[in-house]
Symmetry: C2
Subunit: 303 residues, 2 copies
Amino acid sequence: MSDAIRIVEVGPRDGLQNEKQAIPTEVKLRFIQGLAAAGLKEIEATSFVSAKWVPQLADAEDVWLALPKGPRYDALAPNAKGMSRALELGVDRIALFTASSETFSVRNTNRTVAESLMTFEGLISAFRVQQPNGWMRGYVSTAFECPYEGQVDPRRTVEVARRLFEMGVDEVSIGDTIGAAAPIEVKVLTKLLGEVMPLEMIAYHFHDTRGTAIANVAQALDLGIRAFDSSAAGLGGCPYAPGAGGNLASEDLVYFLERTGIPTGVDLYGLSQASLEILGLLGREPAAKCQLAQLSASETCPT
Amino acid sequence: MSDAIRIVEVGPRDGLQNEKQAIPTEVKLRFIQGLAAAGLKEIEATSFVSAKWVPQLADAEDVWLALPKGPRYDALAPNAKGMSRALELGVDRIALFTASSETFSVRNTNRTVAESLMTFEGLISAFRVQQPNGWMRGYVSTAFECPYEGQVDPRRTVEVARRLFEMGVDEVSIGDTIGAAAPIEVKVLTKLLGEVMPLEMIAYHFHDTRGTAIANVAQALDLGIRAFDSSAAGLGGCPYAPGAGGNLASEDLVYFLERTGIPTGVDLYGLSQASLEILGLLGREPAAKCQLAQLSASETCPT
């Protein structure tokens, strides 16, 4: 396994959760099957979130129980109820979600950051008791910029990451939730994070809203970060228009890594096809750059 | 003027030349006016190419004579005929075009690379005689990868750039014509180029076909490159599908530079609007990431 660099595919969860159009469970499972067949080794499969808040993921149990063998899967547990549901199913890889920005945290989860972290203590204990060999990641969203508060002081992000680390999560995923950061900010934040926790426990979750995601990956890679989140076809994030960058597209991440000489074990053509059924259901054309390049019959129309 | 970093806007020439739908001269001029008003200081306005080959730019003389005051303009002279037309008009900033790849050169210009360079000697002499204070750039396209030959040996690109430098051009623009390069290749090529010519005479012309353009800019910037080509709305390049990356979008370049702390003097909102009339004529939605982000009424739909 060539996993010096880890790709965490978040399409089935982060990519779908904001989509209004219901996607049948079997379509999600075919999507995940396609991702697994393309060679993705870590997939965030769903969220045990309230069906009232996110109807799209109301089938979390059904999805989880039917996951194809091969990849390692995790699921988001947004609160105690979600954690109970996950633990009942025997889920042994869990993600928790908080933010650097107070306003974002309150608006998105109805809890302050401090309240989130308090909740986490109980959730983490409960998880560790039932899944002593389990794995947990903590998301820190709006790590660079908040849509309500503007640029976020990196020390706030570091403080939240440090708390998660001290609570014993296995990985902290640092999210540029609205895709605003430039590499220089990644450099500053990564150096500060490195002072409070090992870099191998950090993943970056970049969005490509403004075209900086791959540059940010390149910067983080240079500094020693070894895990990156991405979403097939760039699904999710903030899709305010066709072609707009939401999540960093897995296709673009794989292309960049391979072209940089870092093997990923992922078949780019298979990956580019995995999301097509869902894109069709959503009435969307493929828009991720490397996905288009892969699917295009003729890439050779140069100037 | 904050032009430690130069942006060369190539939308009016490179961005339009492959568009089949005729764009009226006055629309092009409003586009250029918008670019100038947004603060772009260097604009490649047109090409003195045969109207038979590129009907879209048949109005080169009309465009040139009506250019709004403010920016510095250059125009492409693809051959002796084009150079004559340019010199008759008094054009004092000229671009020449060749490639690293033989197959590309022959297919695109019907000349081998060696033949192009031979032609250039005469063109450059003629230009220098009539415009002793004029400025010339030489394009080296397919500098990293050729759509017909695959990856290009960087030494071939360096050799072509060196020849242009020795012939006395003022700038060499190194083009990733099909948008395939990763930063590591930019690093290798830039170091080799630096051995044969001053880095301040090099511009990079990246395409964003696979999402690597900003990462490549970041790498080049780190190495001391100070000039980058881009195209408003990402017009041009290889637009085989809506949303597909052709040229690096000027909006994305400006955002990246500003966010990195490098002032550009460009108003991103004005820039994002400059291409809208042309996009409307072409029946296309804005697709450049930062353009969408600027134009979107609501950027705040985070996960």
